[in-house]
Symmetry: C2
Subunit: 83 residues, 2 copies
């Protein structure tokens, strides 16, 4: 079976996100008022073969924790669906 995973990897809430701060600071220059917080992370889509949804879930979990996310500074969550 083919599965598609949607993964979000975000800087942890207690860490400063300088890239997001710059966006907040610059939005008024585009005429957009009222934005108080922006946080910027990664969105990853992964297409994979697995025997079951559980197996797909386990593969994505391993990929996130070992390669995609820096677990010291980032948290992640994902959903797996049949492709």
């Amino acid at each position: 079976m083919t599965y598609l995973a949607h993964i979000n990897i975000m800087p942890k809430a207690e860490l400063l996100d300088p890239q997001g701060k710059v966006v907040v600071k610059n939005l008024p220059n585009l005429g957009i008022q009222g934005v108080s917080d922006v946080r910027i992370g990664k969105h990853v889509t992964m297409t994979l073969e697995a025997g079951s949804e559980q197996e797909a879930h386990d593969k994505v979990e391993t990929a996130c924790s070992k390669l995609l996310a820096n677990v010291i500074m980032e948290g992640y969550d994902f959903v797996v669906e049949e492709a």
Copy 2:
């Protein structure tokens, strides 16, 4: 009202995503087989004040098209919810 927007910004499907290709190539070294495609983009969360959900939607649309996304190379989608 305070709204929270979840924005995904992804490289367009017809463009090569070299960062994703590197991940596909390296996952077998972690013991993860069967991953055929990975695409890496940005996930942005934005907290904003707006008079209505429509106004929040319009602000996020403007922020995406004018600042957050490179619309030549990237596509975006987002959802807005009450925070």
